[in-house]
């Protein structure tokens, strides 16, 4: 006696590499304001990114992970999340942070080695960057559980890299989301690399989205450089989540166009050719072409936008550079709500040692 259990994941793509529609576009494409706003955010993100790298190169910022190649995905996340939803990022989500309200200055402070970079006044419920890979997935289901316990109509988007999908945290968390029917959308950003480790070494699975099947969740694949396929999938996933229909896993396929971080040199382990090919799929250029073809964009608008973004970034950099470091005593002041007696002497020592700067 045999029985068969069947599963599948679908992938969608709307724009070809040059921004030409391959198919009927989804309803999202009718919202030209939103599409234009998305484009602007992508350009701002890329402008910020280039500047952050430059700051690092000149010793004015610490190790920094370039967002090149992720701008479309992050932007769609930022747009699709409701203000009252919770964003659980990883470390390459600059495009989403900007839309959520973490300021450019805060982002620079963070990578510049200042804890205040996660103080995020404008998105106080979003989780800070979790450096240990994939650990944030557990937080996301914790947030999702709180939402479920309280019966709220809110949802969570949690980002994780292709590398991160090998770590137990991701797999355990999607399983909980499935078992407890949690409103958590896992956005896997498959940029083909985990530092030097190619996607093919992370897993023998044909797609990453199919990992959802292990958790009884729906899985879906989108072209991470095609704004319409990403935003459509996210809008749909969040609608499901808000309606109490549970979570899902979306795999957004892209390519990490930069080095892993400013501490990395990707030419050691990947070919110029592959990189060149990946640039041809660039999602920002693609959306620009689309907007152009649709009569929504032109070189003047582009010029103005570039200038505006540059100015915004310059202003943030100025403010960042003018921000004085916290006093060293800050290192004990936020450990507990109240400083334990046992730390008082250490705090005094710190205060005395760095009075006036040592």
């Amino acid at each position: 006696m045999k029985q068969r259990f069947e599963f599948h994941v679908d992938s969608t793509r709307y724009l070809d590499d040059h921004g030409k529609p391959l198919d009927d576009l989804p309803a999202q494409a009718e919202d030209t304001e939103r599409t234009l706003a998305a484009y602007r955010n992508m350009v701002l993100t890329r402008t910020f990114d280039a500047k952050a790298i430059a700051l690092q190169r000149t010793g004015k910022c610490g190790t920094y992970p370039s967002v090149l190649g992720h701008e479309v995905i992050g932007t769609a996340i930022g747009q699709s999340l409701a203000k009252t939803d919770v964003f659980v990022p990883y470390y390459r989500d600059q495009a989403a942070h900007i839309l959520r309200g973490a300021s450019l200055v805060e982002m620079l402070l963070y990578w510049g080695g200042d804890e205040r970079g996660s103080a995020w006044k404008n998105c106080p419920e979003d989780l800070p960057i979790a450096v240990p890979i994939a650990t944030q997935c557990c937080h996301a289901v914790g947030v999702g559980s709180a939402i479920r316990i309280r019966g709220e109509e809110r949802a969570v988007v949690c980002c994780v890299g292709d590398g991160g999908t090998s770590k137990g945290d991701f797999l355990e968390s999607i399983n909980l989301a499935g078992a407890w029917h949690l409103p958590v959308v896992f956005m896997v950003i498959n940029n083909q690399w985990a530092i030097s480790t190619p996607r093919g070494i992370q897993t023998g699975a044909e797609t990453i989205a199919q990992k959802a099947i292990s958790a009884g969740l729906p899985g879906h694949i989108v072209d991470g450089n095609d704004y319409f396929s990403v935003i459509e999938a996210l809008d749909a996933a969040l609608e499901r989540a808000h309606a109490g229909k549970g979570g899902m896993v979306i795999e957004a396929v892209t390519y990490r166009l930069g080095d892993h971080t400013t501490a990395d040199d990707a030419t050691r382990y990947r070919s110029a050719e592959d990189l060149k090919k990946a640039w041809e799929k660039d999602g920002i250029k693609r959306l620009q072409n689309y907007l152009h073809d649709a009569g929504l964009w032109d070189p003047d608008k582009e010029k103005a936008l570039q200038a505006e973004c540059k100015q915004t970034v310059e202003k943030a950099v100025e403010e960042y550079l003018a921000t004085e470091a916290e006093p060293p005593t800050a290192m004990v002041d936020y450990l507990f709500e109240n400083l334990p007696v046992s730390l008082r002497a250490q705090r005094e020592r710190l205060a005395a040692k760095y009075r006036g700067g040592e």
């Binding site: 919770v86 659980v88 804890e115 205040r116 996660s118 103080a119 995020w120 106080p124 419920e125 989780l127 800070p128 979790a130 450096v131 240990p132 650990t135 997935c137 557990c138 937080h139 996301a140 289901v141 914790g142 947030v143 999702g144 559980s145 709180a146 939402i147 479920r148 316990i149 137990g168 945290d169 355990e172 968390s173 399983n175 909980l176 078992a179 936020y334 450990l335 507990f336 709500e337 334990p340 007696v341 046992s342 730390l343």
Partner: protein
């Protein structure tokens, strides 16, 4: 549940009482762990709570300690106060990354924006004839992590009061319950919601000749040793450290200033145990008061043997008395 109710309870029943009290008075308190809801926990610590508060607040989780530890972090950032149970301390290690890298750091990382009022409960210690990995006492691992509190009750009353304090504390607490004495004695506990202070040692018995410093199940043997010593005319002060981190050094140093001698007793292996920190602190802070070296009576620096030999591993009353005789002789 009236606030005047007084009951004779065991340590594990006191844990249950404290959980029930706080859940009734603070709807943000939720429990999660393996087998804690329908089964009431393998030690019955959460028995009846699912019936009182429902599955939404008493959650049986899938079998994954890392997930339990990390889910609690996420819950806490939303203002819940999760009490997460590890079935045995020997299974807490999979949860280390979440506890060390997130629970202990969220407040600092976000400059106070988010914080983690989590209690991580785990039965700990040996002597119950259980299989391998069911006898761990690795409190030292957590005591070394800044941002965590490590609290260990050793009586029904302290279990009740300290657990209430741990749940109410706005920061993460690793709450280790000495399972060897889960049911060793009963004590009358007033179910009045009154917490005991964290960061404070409890002086269980005053004395003049030597300070006996201990925590967890070893409090039993230490009190028995103090009795024996009293028969020999030696007056021992007995201190239950209770909060092994952050450590209340003042109480310990004051006592040693009086007695001039200290013996530390713990079940964990000696090398790098919490006893080392206490001995180092006393040796530094009470250097001129000490009339004898600070001596440690501990488990051996090895893996807790399976049950045929586990009693040979644990510190005995005789070991404590012998150590005191040794420091008194100096």
């Amino acid at each position: 549940m009236s606030s005047a109710e007084v009951r004779d309870v065991t340590l594990v029943e006191a844990v249950n009482m404290a959980l029930a009290w706080e859940m009734a008075h603070d709807e943000n308190v939720v429990l999660l762990g393996e087998d804690i809801a329908t089964n009431g926990g393998v030690f019955r610590a959460t028995v009846g709570l699912k019936e009182l508060f429902g599955f939404k607040r008493v959650m049986d989780t899938p079998l994954a300690e890392n997930l339990i530890a990390g889910t609690a972090v996420g819950m806490a950032t939303q203002g819940l106060k999760p009490v997460a149970e590890f079935q045995f301390m020997g299974f807490i290690y999979a949860g280390m990354e979440q506890i060390v890298s997130h629970a202990a750091r969220m407040r600092n990382r976000t400059r106070g924006r988010l914080h983690c009022p989590i209690v991580y409960r785990a039965p700990f210690g040996g002597g119950i004839h259980a299989p391998e990995h069911h006898s761990e006492s690795t409190e030292a691992l957590f005591a070394h992590i800044p941002g965590l509190r490590v609290v260990i009750p050793s009586s029904p009353q302290r279990a009740y009061g300290l657990l209430l304090a741990a749940i109410r504390d706005p920061d993460p607490v690793v709450f280790l319950e000495p399972k060897r004495i889960y049911r060793a004695v009963t004590q009358s506990v007033e179910n009045n919601g009154e917490a005991l202070p964290l960061d404070t040692c409890f002086t269980l018995r005053e004395g003049d000749d030597v300070t006996l410093i201990t925590w967890g199940a070893c409090v039993m043997e230490t009190l028995q040793a103090a009795d024996k010593l009293a028969e020999q005319g030696v007056s021992a002060e007995v201190i239950d450290v209770a909060s092994v981190s952050p450590l209340d050094r003042e109480t310990l140093l004051c006592s040693v200033a009086k007695t001039g001698r200290a013996v530390i007793i713990h079940e964990a292996c000696r090398n790098g145990g919490v006893g080392a920190e206490i001995a180092a602190s006393i040796a530094e802070g009470a250097f001129l008061d000490l009339q004898a070296p600070v001596v440690r009576v501990t488990g051996y620096d090895t893996i807790m043997p399976y049950y045929r030999n586990e009693m040979a591993y644990l510190p005995t009353v005789g070991d404590i008395v012998e150590a005191v005789e040794q420091v008194i002789a100096l």
